[in-house]
């Protein structure tokens, strides 16, 4: 873990003033969720599935271009998928059903289709989520979730987690610097005798910090709710801009279903 500028959680955010950045966060959350739903709803076995994936890809890349998210950033976001690429590569070998010969290997036809579909869908959703996190600050995401009526207690826990993730992460980082400057190298299970107590004392510090934060809040009149400004009404124009992504994807899906 390195101390990223803007913190562990803020590292995903790219400052900017594009139309995507300016959209209300809850609209963006609805848009990305809607897009993911359409992508997931696309039937894998349809002959036009790959044309639809192409259409979705064009839409999400357009959104990325408008938001000013560079291809390198998108590619880095995709690294999270690697374990599933491995799983998908195995699917054609273990799946049942009729076999096809590909480069001398007998691969399952349905496994190939399923693996392709899995990879395409996961990639498209990850790209959409990368555009969301690159154009929305973590705090704005919490505001968006609040406007989408996430239970207040959950919103508060989320707020505290995002607020203190960097503090706790920073303590962890300093512990690591201290350990390694004393010559610690974790190679095998015996390293647990050092790392276990380090994580344990990190918990004790986090918990005690939580108690102090709570007392500080009580002394400022905390009664179990965090007051917020009344939410401003969202113009229709903003809804239309935000929903362009999922509605465009739905149009691609609908034309596939009707014409295919």
């Amino acid at each position: 873990m390195t101390a990223v500028h803007g913190g562990v959680l803020g590292g995903a955010y790219l400052a900017g003033s594009s139309p995507v950045h300016r959209l209300e966060p809850h609209l963006k959350l609805v848009a990305v969720l809607g897009f993911a739903l359409v992508v997931v709803a696309t039937p894998v076995h349809a002959p036009w599935a790959w044309a639809a994936y192409g259409g979705y890809l064009a839409l999400v890349l357009l959104a990325a271009a408008v938001a000013g998210v560079r291809p390198a950033r998108l590619a880095r976001g995709l690294a999270i998928e690697v374990p599933f690429v491995l799983f998908a590569v195995l699917l054609p070998f273990v799946a049942q059903g009729p076999r096809v010969q590909v480069a001398g290997l007998a691969l399952s036809e349905s496994g190939l289709v399923a693996a392709g579909g899995l990879l395409a869908k996961a990639t498209l959703s990850v790209l959409a989520a990368v555009v969301l996190s690159a154009s929305t600050e973590p705090r704005a995401l919490v505001t968006g979730l609040e406007r989408l009526r996430l239970p207040s207690l959950l919103v508060q826990i989320l707020t505290f987690m995002i607020r203190y993730a960097d503090v706790v992460g920073g303590e962890l980082h300093r512990m690591r610097v201290a350990r390694e400057s004393r010559g610690f190298v974790g190679r095998n299970l015996s390293a647990l005798r050092v790392l276990g107590p380090a994580a344990g004392s990190l918990f004790v510090r986090s918990y005690e910090r939580g108690e102090r934060v709570h007392l500080a809040m009580l002394s400022r009149g905390y009664t179990g709710r965090i007051p917020g400004a009344p939410a401003a009404a969202v113009p229709v124009q903003a809804w239309l801009t935000a929903l362009a992504l999922p509605l465009g994807a739905a149009a691609v899906l609908a034309s596939g279903l009707l014409l295919g």
Partner: protein, 233 residues
Amino acid sequence: MHVPDGFLDAPTSAATAAVAAGGVALALRGARRELDERTAPLAGLTAAFVFAVQMVNFPVGAGTSGHLMGGLLAAVLVGPWTAVLCLTVVLGVQALLFADGGLTALGTNVTLLGLVAVAVGWGVFRLLARLLPTTRGGVLTAAGVGAFLSVPVAALVFVGLFAVGGVADVPVGTVAAAMGGVHVLIGLGEAAITVAVVGAVLAVRPDLVHGARALRRATLLAERPASVPAGAR
């Protein structure tokens, strides 16, 4: 490793989302009993701790390293309901900020890594804690076994979901064997890390370990004065 979008079909994803929503609603009520009005700051800080500790790579031997899932660890430290909330928040942040786990699969991930892992781990932990002697060793053994079992059971529930709503036509037995085998190993790592961390907290602040309250009574440790002065409440 979190379930991405498109891995399970829509009805299965919707069903697990409903289960997750119900479980989290229960946990929101249960956590108030565990932490009273301190729920938000303490659960938030514990979630930050779980998030941070998931970034520590613990060496598990043979040159490989793993990181903690932390379900049972959080349950033993702060109580099962609060643990469910912490893991839910951590999974949500990972899905929203790092695209780790799909948004439409968030319900599945919360069900597996939050509800199933915590419920199984905590159930085993409580059962063993009752059977074993009320000592430090007893609590640590119960925590280790609970942490160990929580991982393969969550993996097998995933295989069950995959059999019901998976998009690939894969022999369920093969997947169950492979996933189970891999996750038995991961579970051993989870158990080792959980025992090491719980043991360390028990050594310095036994009063903070929710799952060891019986131990505190049995050994008649002197109560540390509450950090909240009586008048401040």
